[in-house]
């Protein structure tokens, strides 16, 4: 795979987002809403919020990311861009990787902006090694995005694609969600072994990135 193609795809997606800011804005606002809603619905005390904060952050990101992922490929449908992409000599994997990395960066931006708000709203103070979160968030986000971009491409030519994406993505994402939530909770409460879950997340990422790259060509050219 020549790196040139991959960089071109990545640059195109970043530029599109930079000009419209559709995905980041909608994700930010959506995730913020979820955080506020959960906080109001459960009204957690400080000890309780340590237990549930990791889960809420992950679920909020997950829902927000799905709303943006639906647009990731729908964008390419206008003016038959997707058909043009299928005809280019660039390997399908480089297109996939560029798209994935772009979306990964969008979601990471959302998480970084949201994290301080989150700490404030839930009155958080990590009892474990808070620096490990720097590992957990990118690994978990990558697991979500790599599968999300893949399944968004898979569902793009189906009926009800907006509905179908979460239906097929969430069951596959469950182990990674569990790893993300358990490690975040272990870090926040200082109990349990966060490193074990981080290793599991890493393994999940490696396996699914490999399979996605291998099978993306089949999906792209499915007729």
């Amino acid at each position: 795979m020549r790196s040139g193609y991959f960089v071109t795809h990545l640059k195109k997606d970043l530029q599109l987002e930079w000009r419209s800011k559709d995905a980041i804005n909608s994700m930010l606002f959506f995730a913020l809403l979820v955080v506020v809603l959960f906080s109001l619905a459960f009204d957690p005390t400080r000890a309780v919020s340590r237990q549930i904060a990791g889960g809420i952050l992950c679920v909020a990101t997950m829902f927000a990311a799905v709303s943006a992922l639906n647009q990731a490929w729908a964008r390419e449908l206008r003016n038959q861009v997707l058909d043009a992409l299928r005809m280019t000599p660039a390997p399908a994997a480089s297109l996939f990787l560029g798209k994935t990395l772009a979306n990964f960066l969008f979601v990471m931006v959302v998480e970084v902006v949201l994290a301080p708000v989150f700490v404030m709203f839930y009155n958080l103070h990590a009892l474990g090694n808070a620096w490990l979160l720097v590992l957990v968030l990118p690994l978990g986000t990558w697991a979500l995005i790599v599968n999300g971009v893949f399944f968004a491409a898979l569902s793009i030519r189906t009926r009800n694609r907006e509905l179908l994406l979460p239906l097929i993505l969430f069951p596959i994402f469950i182990p990674a969600l569990l790893g993300m939530v358990m490690s975040a909770t272990a870090i926040l409460t200082g109990e349990g072994d966060a490193v074990l879950w981080i290793k599991m997340l890493g393994a999940y990422d490696v396996i699914f990135t490999t399979v996605c790259m291998m099978l993306f060509e089949v999906i792209l050219h499915a007729e």
């Binding site: 599968n147 030519r157 009926r159 009800n160 069951p171 596959i172 182990p175 358990m182 089949v218």
Partner: protein
Amino acid sequence: MKLWRWLWLLVTLGVLAEGFRVALFVVPSDSAQGDVQRIFYYHIPSWAGMGLFFAINLGCSLVYLAVRNRNQALAMKADSLAVASAEMGVVFCFIGLVTGSLWGRAVWGIWWTWDARLTSTLVLWLIYVAYLLLRRFAAGPQMRTLAAVMAIFGYLDVPLVYMSTRWWRTQHPAPVFGGAPGSGIDPSMMPAVWWNLAGWLMWGIFVASLRYVSEYRAQNAEQAEALKSLEFAPGPTQMAGGR
């Protein structure tokens, strides 16, 4: 062919009846749990059936992906068998969950717990329901390719779910067969296991074969229809309506 199917059905019903008799009236009841344990004879065959049919589904999906551009007839057969086995696997998985839940209510006092095996099988069930949903939402030959890819993802996810939930928590009894040394059940109970295992697998194969034939015919009819409309279509605009 029809005669064989009727014979198969008759033998299956006979084996199931014998399995029912042996499981309920012949083998001794469990020394610790009493008669509740007898649901185990229906619990185990469903997991065996689930494992068998999901494995068939994976195999057929791989075959479909490998030959879809070269051997259309074989690919369609593989795809039909993949649907039939996925549906049968989902049914077996559901029966396994329900029988397990009934047993749990009697022995643990709760219907459900978020334990490693329970969670992973529930996730497995969800994945294959999603697979069947995908098949409904998409149309035409591209759907078959997409579904085959999804089946590979689903199967790949299972060990990960299992490992992750195992680290998480576990309450389910250790595997009865092939677990720790000294596991397994009393030899006097084995006939009930064998009869029911054979009976339910035969039943599953019977239903799946019916589904396979109907799916295969539906696909053939669909293809014939598509070919016909291709011949008469005035322009390419009408073809897009099929999606």
